[in-house]
Symmetry: C2
Subunit: 508 residues, 2 copies
């Protein structure tokens, strides 16, 4: 069987005969899937960039109604094909068809596309400013170049480079897309690209409005990310890859929006621990074990102060983790990464409190892990205890007292989120006032009395944070219209003749 | 005489006895000035960063009224001391006391500070978003770390790191400042820092709210710009320095806002050339020769199409440049840089059309220069003809026809501005529609029928552009409140208890 074609300049093109290929694996069975996919060559990348450039030029005369029609048409097509798409994605990712894919993730994805369609037709994201007295007018507008979108392994729809949040935002802001599939779910991405391309053509948009390739060698990737034919990059994935993308893009001044690793500290302050230690433990375990822990916002670091209540919390969490099954992870490599992460912590002196049920079933299964370390040990070697364990695993830091907890907080790295549980009676408020400013400085989203998993697509959401949780502290990857602003160029029209002004900048 | 002290943590501290020192020169006389200034050592930088960190922490409990009081108090103090300040600055820069310094630049500077004070007290810059149904609320807020501001040689007040636009914006957004003086006007910067520090103390702000150093060795600078104790960097200056700052900052994810070189293309289309060639030449020459051409927005590249009218334009401009005096430039090095730039162009085949009047007077004088090259030659070696000549110099590109003009446009690098003059009778409109999208894609500000010099402090101004004209295409260094947003961290408050919310995010 020949390798699957890439979508380049409106055509499904075969890779060259000597292209390296790869296959995805069904992580639930361990079987390699039949289809093979090519790595894009430097020539393929060149063709993608040239076609994307031409599409960006053609887009100057497209209307926001066309963009909106594309996004809604695509959303409709995904909804119609939801069962087929979910079946492919389940095979490639091990994620359950229902409720996860058809009940949650696909509706979220099409909802995002429809929100983006509405945003494209409004000028809210462009921040129009009119200074009529000086005849100066400014707004954000398209970068005028294609945007590269690279999605992660854990959301085959909602964060897919060809369908997810970065895609929706960049399209709504008027850009042609060069999408890279995640190599763990190339078939899902290919099917989505077919629907996207059809919808783009139906809306009368350029041939290369959406393009898709599957993977590439590192040197080709570095070239792509440092090519000034790109307007911007949207990436969700590992810190190691994100840093490489950023280095290549920074060198030539391409804005790269990165959503990388995050351990999402959750602090349970002493008072609330007194009030309801076991309920908190259940809530924590539920959040950490959800979806085999494969969320960017998984609670990977728990901050507590030593007490009997904290021991009760730990005992209850221990029970929950010990009883938890080993679920199928997204790729065959992930369970091994998880073991490496757990071993890294125990090597540095963390105590292993619990492992989940070992499984004799087939598949790439991640065994839950709960660990513990003292605040003093954490502070003595803070970098050792902050590497992300992607999966159902968390480290509980038990500080001797509030002062030690604050010392731990000072050492934390950046995360997407930070959460604080405090007593109803106000007894934690003083400590909260000391702790929250220190930790929230390092996070994009600050939660109270709530676990961080669950990222609502709300205009007020922030999914981002300081480097290296995110690529730039001023932006969010989720939440419309704010996510569109990442892909905006700020332009001033100075004394420009009225007939030449964009509508939203004309005198009313 | 000992070297002048630096302002570190609220005290004017002497540099270590073995510090390397430098002096400024009066460019109007060539005399070295008496005061010596130290290069900051790595230990000095460390002290600045530690004090800035402490100030950022203390600022958490400061009010926006205190920030506003500081900015207005500082503006008042500058106005009161305007004559003294202008005298020092004139000695260090050769800029005329009046009207330039006391009539234009100082009022602009204090106006900016007062606009920033108003912006600090409004929540407009923070883009507050409330999703009450989901209890999600977001806004931009301070980065919680000090901001490094580095100003250029050409505006000792309005872009000074301790008084200018970046300073005003970063303070208004709630930041402590570590300012680097430009070594061409250290005395001006020192005097400003004294006033700033006094005003900050009067407003009850932290000791290290504003700090000042003068210069540093390149390795110390790289360390500073890559130190994660910094929240962000605001820089205006040369492309070579800006690229070094960006590389150091990018490596650790510090946002660096850079306003670097720009040649500011101005296109005179064929129709308007027919209508008023000589008037256009006078307008162009006036703009290019203004202030000895020492503006970021100086028109350094003129785009025309060959015709008799274009020859009349050139003849008239030639006359204006030939008759122009050689004015005093900001530093002794600049006239030599200008000569190097002119020679670079003639070496590559540009024709020297005119030089200004040679001067036998003292001082670092820049001799106006007007050059010409064909569109074909430009397109054949586009990089050769786009290096900035800082000063009263410009290159006229004469394209054979409209198609060649478009080919030139395709090769242009990024600039802060682009300007288009077109006929009243509409005869240039078709060419405008082809040309403007290509060039404006590469610029932050698009002008019609107007030269680019003159950057109004308006909410709708954009002083920035794609890399390497600017550091990020989505931001502006001039224009309030937009300039504050560069220094904002986007935060979401998710289910946060009402009493803990910032005022602007509470339910109304």
């Amino acid at each position: 069987m020949p390798a699957q074609p890439m979508l380049i300049n409106g055509e499904w093109r075969a890779a060259s005969a000597d292209a390296t290929t790869f296959s995805a694996t069904n992580p639930a069975t361990g079987e390699q899937l039949a289809e093979t996919y090519p790595l894009a060559s430097a020539a393929d990348i060149d063709a993608l960039l040239d076609a994307g450039t031409a599409a960006a030029q053609a887009l100057r005369s497209a209307t926001t109604s066309q963009i909106a029609a594309f996004l809604t048409g695509y959303a409709d097509a995904i909804d119609t094909a939801a069962d087929d798409l979910a079946a492919i994605a389940a095979t490639e990712t091990g994620l359950p068809v229902a409720p996860r894919l058809t009940g949650v993730e696909i509706p979220r994805t099409t909802g995002q596309l429809r929100q983006a369609a509405a945003a494209a037709q409004s000028d809210e994201w462009t921040n129009p400013v009119v200074d009529a007295a000086n005849n100066l007018r400014s707004r954000l507008e398209s970068l005028g170049k294609p945007v590269l979108t690279i999605g992660p392994n854990n959301f085959p729809f909602a964060f897919n480079g060809i369908a997810g949040g970065d895609f929706a935002a960049a399209v709504a802001a008027g850009h042609a897309i060069i999408a890279k599939a995640h190599p763990a779910h190339p078939g899902t991405s290919q099917r989505l690209a077919e629907l996207a391309h059809t919808a783009a053509q139906a809306a009368g948009l350029p041939a290369a409005m959406v393009q898709l390739f599957y993977h590439m060698a590192p040197d080709v990737g570095a070239k792509l990310c440092g090519d000034t034919r790109l307007g911007a990059i949207g990436f969700t994935g590992s810190e190691a890859t994100g840093r490489k993308i950023k280095a290549a893009a920074d060198a030539v001044g391409i804005p790269a929006y990165l959503e990388m690793s995050s351990i999402n500290p959750v602090a349970f302050l002493p008072g609330v621990m007194q009030e309801k230690a076991t309920a908190l433990a259940d809530e924590f375990a539920g959040s950490c074990l959800l979806g085999v822990g494969q969320f960017c916002t998984n609670p990977g670091l728990i901050l507590t102060v030593a007490s009997e209540a904290t021991e009760a919390f730990i005992a209850q969490a221990q029970q929950a983790f010990t009883g938890a099954a080993s679920g199928v992870m997204l790729t065959p490599a992930l369970p091994q990464h998880l073991e490496t992460g757990v071993k890294h912590l125990t090597d540095h002196g963390a105590e292993l409190l619990a492992r989940g049920q070992e499984s004799s079933e087939a598949g790439a299964r991640g065994r839950p892990a709960l660990l513990r370390v003292s605040g003093a040990a954490f502070v003595a070697d803070p970098n050792a205890f902050q590497s992300e364990m992607f999966g159902p695993a968390s480290l509980i830091v038990v500080a001797a007292d509030a002062a030690e907890l604050l010392a731990v907080a000072e050492q934390l790295h950046a995360s997407l989120t930070c959460s604080f549980y405090t007593a109803e009676d106000g007894s934690d408020d003083e400590l909260y006032d000391q702790l929250a400013p220190v930790i929230s400085l390092k996070s994009g989203r600050i939660l109270n009395d709530k676990m961080p998993t669950g990222v609502a697509v709300s205009p007020a959401m922030v999914h981002g944070g300081p480097f290296p949780a995110g690529g730039h502290p001023g932006f969010t990857a989720v939440g419309i219209p704010a996510s569109l602003r990442r892909f905006g160029a700020l332009k001033c029209y100075d004394n420009v003749r009225p007939s030449r002004l964009p509508d939203s900048l004309r005198d009313k």
